[in-house]
């Protein structure tokens, strides 16, 4: 029987992968992808907890939907920023975007 721990283990793995991507990628878009993985891991946890711990009010679903919405917002703004940075600096690597560094 598949229980809550299965989902939690899976989501922790996904989270770890996402974190690894965020930590090691130079490209801003790739970092964004890592963040999306981490958010998905969190969402998976929320939905799993809803089913196994507290099904009334589907709170986890609500949280997941809010997170998905915010992820969409974050992607839109983040990618707009990346495009703008690329237009000015011709790079999207976060370690080369250092105009403000004294």
């Amino acid at each position: 029987m598949i229980g809550l721990p299965h989902y939690l283990v899976l989501s922790s793995l996904l989270f770890g992968m996402g974190l690894f991507g965020v930590l090691t990628r130079r490209n801003a878009v790739a970092i964004l992808m890592g963040i999306e993985l981490m958010l998905n891991a969190a969402n998976l946890n929320f939905v799993a907890f809803t089913k196994f711990v507290d099904p009334t009010f589907v709170r986890g679903h609500v949280a997941a939907l809010v997170i998905i919405t915010l992820a969409a917002c974050e992607a839109a703004v983040g990618l707009a920023l990346i495009i703008n940075a690329y237009r000015h600096l011709e790079t999207v690597n976060v370690d080369q975007v250092n105009l403000l560094k004294g």
Binding site: L19, V22, R25, N98
Partner: protein, 689 residues
Amino acid sequence: MARLAWLIPLFPLASYGILAFRGRVLGERAPYVAIAAMAVSAVLAWGTFLEQVLGAPPFVWRAAWAVGGERVITVGYTVDSLSSITVAMITLVGGLIFVYSVGYMHGDPYYARFFAFLSLFCAGMLTMVLANSFLLMLIGWEVIGLCSYLLIGFYFRRRSANLAQMKAFLTTRVGDTLMLVGIMALFWQFGTVDYQTVFEAVHKGAEKASAAVRLGPWEIPVVTLTALLIFGGPIGKSGQFPLHVWLPDAMEGPTPVSALIHAATMVAAGVYLVGRAYPLFFFTPHHEALTWVAWVGTVTALMAGLIALAQDDIKRVLAYSTISQLGFMMAGLGVLGYTAGLFHLLTHAFFKALLFLAAGSVIHAVRTNNIKEMGGLWRSMPVTFWTFLAGFLALAGVFPFAGFWSKDEILLEAYHHDPAIYTLLTAAAFLTALYMSRLVAYAFFGRYRGPEHPEPDPWLPEDYARAGVHGPHHGHEAHRGPHESPPVMTVPLMVLAFFALVAGFVGIPGTGPEGGSWIHHFLKFEGFEEAGIHAPSFSWPLALRSLAVALAGIGVAWVVYGVRWVRSDQVRAWVGPLYPFLRNRMYIDTVYAWVFVRGGLALAAGLRWFDVHGVDGLVNLVGGVTVLVSRLHRLFDTYVVDGLVNLIGWLTRGLGMLLRPLQTGRAYHYILVAAAGLVIIVVVSLWRL
């Protein structure tokens, strides 16, 4: 139809909205919007009116607006005989004036704005008339006041217009404030401002209504005090003594404004309100509130009539005449002539609008307001002359024009109520005939005394002239002497002249049931029947007497100004100091200027002196002390505080030097450290478990 009555004010309001926001784009087409809106309103208003005429029951609609505990303030509208006939009159006269303005204001750079203001005004007026409560009425009332202010100062570059608009606003504000207090008093007493509820409460003599307030040596019943406070509003708005001073000055506005606002409708608002709130006045002990109303009206009528005798400005004469007639209406209402006062309100609206518009046509042609510079215009401006004459005869009260019927009603009521008032009003009626005849004789008869080529309109401010606008008369070509106005202006005159003739016929005895007149049947106050008061029936001797008075006035004027058997300067010599007294408007304006304007300025100067020497001295003293203290403080600051601060700065910089390599500016380094920190925290907490 009554259920649609709420739409009546909305169309002009919509027109205002359109013109205010899109007027610049509409330009020349602006009046069509306003006139169309007014036409729709007029159709609705006349439909409502005819429905009432055919015997529909009064209709009141109300909805909760604000709810505070037990008290509910409602918003809604009332359709009964009084409000329906008034909206019918307003939309008709207003619509005609709109049409007239198309010609009169043509070429004005603020053409659309003018119509926007007029529309807003009509919206406010109609709201005020149709309102179901004092609060909604007050909203309409204030909109009217605002529009009056805007329109008096319509030629806003002209100093005198600015002063006039301020005067109008501030003067009426005195009355409005009293009225506001009165409405608050009503709310305090009855917990509502709804007409019906308030009137029923007053009628039943609710406990609180019969309470009394001690005011010095007098004990005034609360209800009387409330009624008189509310009467403050009409005193201001309807130009009653002693707040009448703004109305003559309001003639600074364009003539259609004078006709619409300061003759036909806005000033009628006060009278209308007294009629609307009649139960409040009537059910005071011994009708004492009405006695006040009657006397204020009588004094006003007589005073304004006298002043009008000595004025040379055509519009000012008409303005004082308006004040005088409003006095008549108030007096009529005050002597228990509910129908008579309101009947005069309606007829007066027609012929006074007519007189103003015709006067505007004259001014338009001769480019001056001074009647002494006119003369002989009957030949060159026949339509204007004949229509003006109709208005004149109506105002003077000559059979069978409208004014005869309505004024006679008032005199009849006064005769049966209080002989003193009757005598004074008869004198005022005589004066009315006299000064109007003087006006007609100067303006239309004799020979033309003005220049051959009238100068550009002195009423027009400089920037209009610079804009290449030569007065309201667009495309002004060289012409000899004054000439007739275009049809867009004369047609409304003719329509109004028609009404000036026939509007009084509803007051002919026998036109209604039981030998009374139709208007008595239509507009009646229920309280009279209960109190056993019956309207006096028409009496021939009185009617003939008032006709004789009117004809006498005309005759005297004819002797002096027409055939000139007696020269006017001789008359002037006989009356001695009376002439300058009247010419200077009984010095009322002068007194006000001294007492209120200069008094106010002096008070301000005194306060300013106190401010400069008293308050500022104190402030300067505090300032000096502060400066001294701060000097001492600075020494402390420089050596002790700054020393510490610099020490901290040096320390920080040293620390920064040490820590600088840690800040790489790379986000992923930080995240790594954060993640490592998280790992450490989890490890530590696990270990402690």
